[in-house]
């Protein structure tokens, strides 16, 4: 990955920092932070789904894992936020690996893969709702403990910067993947497994690495959510809403591209806020629009365009 290729990502980071300095409205800041959290979760999904072609319908499993492990370690065991978040991310990655090991070895792909990931997320949601350590149906509160040392900030601008830094990291990881051997092999697996195998690609190993990395990124988003909102419950952590948004954002913004998830998250959240302003707070209206958008995007494959444009742009600067 050349310095020139990382410029857009650095550009984004600079823009985010500037925003944090000049935007004072809490409403807008809240919107931006939430969008960044979604973008990070979506970046995770994009790795497995966009680049790898394995569409997970249950990424909430990783989001929730990251959120709960981080929160539980802080609340129940007094662990400091930083290692707690690190453990949360690791736990999500391990969960990804475990699920992948079972599911990919059984040869599940396509609709079956989507179904089984959905099932895993649901199992976790039910468990989180019923067990004590997660706070059960009442959920889990992280005690207010402001200070950089506890990864809790009084003002949202700091969270904006934190989120932007994490997203920039996720994008750099995605870019590095694109340029790596794993990335090429992952795309080959997406396009044609048999041909990839004949060319020496270890399909199982590639998928396992992809799902672990994907889970880690989405888990990071979950941990960040917990630090920002300081409250999670089984529906927030493992609910279908995050599985859907983590999937929708890359599909709409451009699956298999570095900036697709961020673009998609901005579009989705923008639409969501926009409809709220126009129609008022009727629950579910924003998701209706998301659903329509999803069908439209599939019907008129606009989501291929960002991917093709990205390939052209890359091609100009090849290799």
């Amino acid at each position: 990955m050349t310095p020139r290729e990382t410029l857009p990502i650095l550009g984004f980071l600079v823009a985010a920092v500037l925003l944090s300095l000049f935007v004072t409205s809490n409403v807008v800041l809240n919107f931006l932070v939430f969008t960044l959290i979604l973008a990070i979760a979506a970046q995770g999904w994009n790795l497995l789904g966009g680049y790898g072609g394995q569409y997970s319908f249950g990424h909430a499993a990783f989001f929730g894992m990251g959120a709960y492990v981080s929160a539980i370690l802080q609340q129940r065991f007094g662990v400091n936020a930083y290692p707690a978040v690190a453990f949360g991310i690791t736990a999500a990655a391990l969960l990804g690996y475990a699920i992948g090991a079972m599911v990919f070895r059984a040869g599940l792909r396509g609709s079956y893969f989507a179904l089984v990931t959905l099932a895993f997320a649901e199992v976790l949601r039910i468990l989180a709702n019923a067990t004590e350590i997660t706070g059960g149906a009442a959920g889990l509160l992280i005690s207010l403990n402001l200070g950089a040392g506890n990864l809790q900030f009084a003002n949202r601008s700091s969270f904006l910067i934190l989120g932007a830094v994490l997203l920039a990291l996720a994008m750099l990881i995605t870019l590095a993947l694109e340029k790596s051997r794993l990335g090429a092999q992952l795309v080959a697996v997406r396009e044609n497994e048999a041909a990839a195998a004949a060319l020496g690609v270890d399909i199982l190993a590639v998928k396992l690495r992809a799902i672990s990395l994907s889970a880690a990124l989405t888990g990071a988003a979950g941990a960040l959510y917990a630090q920002y909102f300081l409250y999670i419950d089984s529906n927030i952590a493992f609910g279908t809403w995050i599985s859907v948004e983590a999937l929708l954002a890359p599909i709409i913004g451009g699956a298999g591209t570095v900036f697709g998830p961020l673009i998609g998250a901005l579009i989705l959240q923008g639409l969501s806020e926009g409809t709220k302003m126009l129609i008022g707070k009727i629950p579910g209206v924003d998701l209706i629009i998301f659903g329509v958008l999803l069908i439209l995007v599939v019907r008129f494959p606009l989501h291929r365009i960002p991917g093709l444009l990205a390939a052209r742009w890359r091609g100009k600067g090849a290799p």
Binding site: G284, V292, L294
Partner: protein, 291 residues
């Protein structure tokens, strides 16, 4: 394990009754898979829609759910036909991942439309026979569930006749077996796809009417059933109607017994775990056709 035999017997019996309706829900799903080869992620949302429709039919027109079965089945047949013909078919153009996304999109739209209109409170229909029981030997059986069982069997028989004795049924079976060949002999495949989808949706409408007297309705109620339906379909074999019905009965009993031993909140886990296990071990199911 500490439960007297009468309680177990009752759990099993009620599980069987419940399972029949699960089977009916699964039937639509397996039919659509067997013919169109798509896994309809919107199935649960369509059930939710049907239940709200039955609820409204009662509230606005005073129609008893059992009386509403036939008109709603007709209405939903048409709705399902149009959805497949106008939305799913054109949008997915036969691609597997596209169909996944389109049916997902549909489910999101339907579910949230219900949320927007009816809000998230669960609602129930209190009918004079909701709590009626009937005694069969030592066992107390719920009347609505008995009716559900009976209607399901009747419907299964009707579908069997449809599939084997009518031209449409034969066309459906032809398309399921060999789409290109069917097209070559002049069968309008797009039409058959839409008819099949319509039948699947009509089954949901009937299932909704059967469930309403003893169940609550909420925007996510269909979700509670969809994974059960998927489990049944995967267990019984994708595309197998017998598998769907027998699988439904089996799952009904499993759920009933899990609820007994693990309590309500964890009862659903039993089903999900079976689902995951079946997918991992035998994606074609026990009676399965293709994977």
């Amino acid at each position: 394990m500490g439960y007297p035999p009468e309680i177990l017997l009752e759990a099993v019996a009620n599980g069987l009754l419940m399972g029949a309706v699960y089977g009916l829900v699964a039937l639509g799903l397996t039919l659509v898979y067997g013919v169109l080869h798509i896994i309809n992620f919107a199935h649960g949302a369509l059930l939710t829609l049907a239940m709200y429709a039955a609820f409204v039919a009662h509230g606005v027109f005073g129609l008893d759910p059992y009386a509403a079965m036939i008109p709603l089945a007709g209405l939903f047949f048409v709705f399902g036909y149009l959805v497949q013909r106008l939305v799913i078919g054109p949008a997915s153009r036969g691609d597997d991942s596209n169909m996944l996304l389109v049916t997902l999109g549909l489910s999101i739209i339907i579910e949230n439309a219900m949320l927007a209109i009816f809000r998230s409170d669960t609602m129930t229909l209190r009918l004079p026979y909701t709590m009626s029981m009937v005694e069969l030997g030592d066992v107390l059986l719920s009347v609505p569930r008995l009716i559900g069982f009976g209607v399901t069997l009747l419907l299964a028989a009707l579908l069997f006749v449809l599939m084997t004795r009518t031209d449409t049924g034969r066309a459906i079976r032809a398309v399921a077996k060999e789409r290109t060949g069917a097209a070559l002999v002049g069968i309008d495949v797009a039409h058959i796809y839409a008819v099949t989808f319509g039948i699947g949706t009509a089954c949901l409408a009937i299932a909704a009417c059967l469930l309403l007297p003893s169940f609550y309705v909420s925007p996510r109620v269909g979700n509670a059933f969809v994974l059960v339906a998927f489990t049944i379909v995967v267990l019984g074999g994708m595309g197998s109607v017998t598998g769907a019905l027998l699988g439904g009965l089996f799952i009904g009993v499993v759920e009933s017994l899990s609820g007994l031993y693990f309590g309500d909140s964890l009862g659903q886990i039993g089903i999900f775990l079976i689902f995951i296990l079946v997918l991992l071990l035998r994606p074609t199911g026990l009676f399965g056709a293709r994977a």
